[in-house]
Symmetry: C2
Subunit: 491 residues, 2 copies
Amino acid sequence: MQNPLYITNSLSRQKEQFIPLNAPLVGLYVCGPTVYGEAHLGHARPYITFDILNRYLQHLGYKVRYVRNITDVGHLVDDADEGEDKIAKKARLEQLEPMEVVELYTTSFHDSMRALNILPPSIEPRASGHIIEQIKMIEEIIQNGFAYESNGSVYFDVIKYSKTHDYGKLSGRIIEDLIAGAGNEKRVLEGQDEKQNPADFALWKKASPEHIMRWPSPWSEGFPGWHIECSAMSKKYLGETFDIHGGGMDLLFPHHESEIAQSKGSCGKAPVRYWMHNNMITINGQKMGKSLGNFINLKQLFEGDHQLLVQAYSPMAIRFFILQAHYRSTLDFSNEGLQAAEKGFNRLISAIHLLPTLKSSATSSYDVNELKEKCYEAINDDMNTAIVISHLFDAARLINSVNGGTEKLTQEDIVSLDETMKQFVFNILGLMKEEKDNSADMNGIMKLILSLRDEAKQKKDFATSDKIRDELTKLNFIIKDEKDAATWAKS
Amino acid sequence: MQNPLYITNSLSRQKEQFIPLNAPLVGLYVCGPTVYGEAHLGHARPYITFDILNRYLQHLGYKVRYVRNITDVGHLVDDADEGEDKIAKKARLEQLEPMEVVELYTTSFHDSMRALNILPPSIEPRASGHIIEQIKMIEEIIQNGFAYESNGSVYFDVIKYSKTHDYGKLSGRIIEDLIAGAGNEKRVLEGQDEKQNPADFALWKKASPEHIMRWPSPWSEGFPGWHIECSAMSKKYLGETFDIHGGGMDLLFPHHESEIAQSKGSCGKAPVRYWMHNNMITINGQKMGKSLGNFINLKQLFEGDHQLLVQAYSPMAIRFFILQAHYRSTLDFSNEGLQAAEKGFNRLISAIHLLPTLKSSATSSYDVNELKEKCYEAINDDMNTAIVISHLFDAARLINSVNGGTEKLTQEDIVSLDETMKQFVFNILGLMKEEKDNSADMNGIMKLILSLRDEAKQKKDFATSDKIRDELTKLNFIIKDEKDAATWAKS
């Protein structure tokens, strides 16, 4: 008997049993990247976190529709709805068409996700591909009186909305503070006075003459605000109310708070039943930031190409490192931590390799079934991968002990342990064996072998030289005796 | 002095010198896949062909904006504008949301393209993401009198258009034949009588009640016709007139002919200066088709998983096979052809490996510069990769002859030949060395070497056993002497 899955719902700040709206279907939405630069360590965490959720829900037999968007328009440099579009800015700096920037970094993002063995989402919609749906939702919000047009732009009326709705509930913000304080110092900025209140947020922005990314709308040639895309696309592909919405804690406010307001403001329904948020990654105790010089992107990590890195880290070491912390805890990046993760990961893989070679006994000295139960208990307890991994380490120790003869397992228990290990390590935690290119090793060893054969021949030890030739032939190697030396090739 | 690049323009049916509209910029558009199934051999050819063009234009110093679309809506099962949408049909059969089908096969398509070392395009726009642009272009065509609404759908008026324009010029169709003949037998089909003439083609289709993929438009809730997406997206990202449009010959009519009509019918300008078309792939002399049982997808080829395949073929063998024919020739697939390609490819790679080990002479017996010139001549002659490869084979023979002592090259010529080979093989033809997983070989060889060490020890030949240990240590192998036998690991 398995206990059910509990997850922490950011909305109630409590662990709640997960009960899907329309089992066996599960709708899952996770905020994807704004594709104006290389994916970094801060991206790896949410996508690995919700990859585990996606994998585990599938493991439990649910049919998951996992939607993770690509933000390719509307995310402004300044969060107070001002400043250039992040992608348009990058395009200007790199002398590219904005969609070239989008394509470049989307491809790169996919490369990094694949390296980290993150399963692709079922649908990966782009904001620029859903302008019609966004305009329609804005029209509905205006119709319901929760938004107003101002100089060709449209803003969500937070004050009006908060009179009848609980704006700030998800993020724990107090509406009075927001109205009084937020962004007041920015009101002097151009365009900011279009807002009736600084707490209001943009649904549609009129494009300035030099702005390339623009579409016609009832209000102006312009582009959608950042928050509306997720509301429009999650509704299109998952319905007005769906099961789980995930993202990093930095998105709680204003992004996710605004999503709730937009959905309630358009169709009157709360969009999401379970909100899940992963905590942040710090670097040697500091917040990660471009200005702090501690901003490490994933390709730099994979290649060890950054001043803070003492070596390259494989994607699986990084994945393992992230999984060794509970997703709701902060996680501090350090070389020591990653090196330890690398060793831990290798220890698990070695144990799995050892498993099929174990000699079985008539009785078991260890309760393999209890170990399995503990793994499920941990993953069901708000996806506590840190505890799952500690149990897997216990399993690895057990395997080594059986190998060393200090513990005993029956054949049945060996098979069961093998299943549990593979299920959790490969399927649920999504770790995989890493292939290494060992052609350099191969060349070195073949050179050694051929020199041993040469020596044997010179000593007239033909038994040895023949053995070498025969064994290599069995392995499909072709050895040719050239003028100077022997050469080898694989047939 | 290099001769300029000539390419065959399908419009003039002649080789024409390529002169870009706005050098150093080049605009290139290639019709991408309709993502409702696995990419097959027929997809590999156009994307490899235009990958060579993209690579070579960049090699020549042009800045290429390469747009290759994803058709995710509007491509109907029946080319006469009837029948279900290909993606909607697949979604119905697989019980998925259409965009889940799109995502699944787009990801799979990207995987295959990456395996074939095809560079990603600069922009990969999706039809469903450009509904607004397509509606706008349809409105312009209606305004110019070249399209009409009928029952919520919009059709291009081929008869009216052909009175003032040359419909059929690209594909060599005679307009009278089209008007009299095409599709007449289909007029009885539902909806077909919406057309004033069977030669007309759909720009917008009203969605039937059960049709999921639908957007609002001035005419109906519906979806765009297949042809309009390429016109709208090429215009958006490359302008009203751009340099090169590529695709398979099967797209000449009606797809590309319709693109020309749509552009001229909306803005009055011819969209494309050079139309390029690759020829088809046949399988053992037969057309490839799902009903003929000879439909091989790329993953089956990579894995040898099809009744017509006697083995698996590596992506590079397939790429090489396709490049050994001129892109405008038909290419017949056969196991023999692919096996020959595999050997040919390996011969080139082996020669490149041999190059740096060649001993130089005081004089050269071969004109290395002429060989390079010949390679450029061939690629400049309408991208004749078949001839390029024959010259590269000459180069491989030369390298082997120098190695065997029957030809001579100066150090300078060896360096020059090395540059030419690498430039053409890797950069222009886009071939790459393939990494092979040789861990099985490694295990076999290590077992052999450890047994040789064991024997040497038993014979008290410590010189040999020490040599083995020392050499392995140099290669960073760790050898442990266990109770039963020695084991090895890589440090």
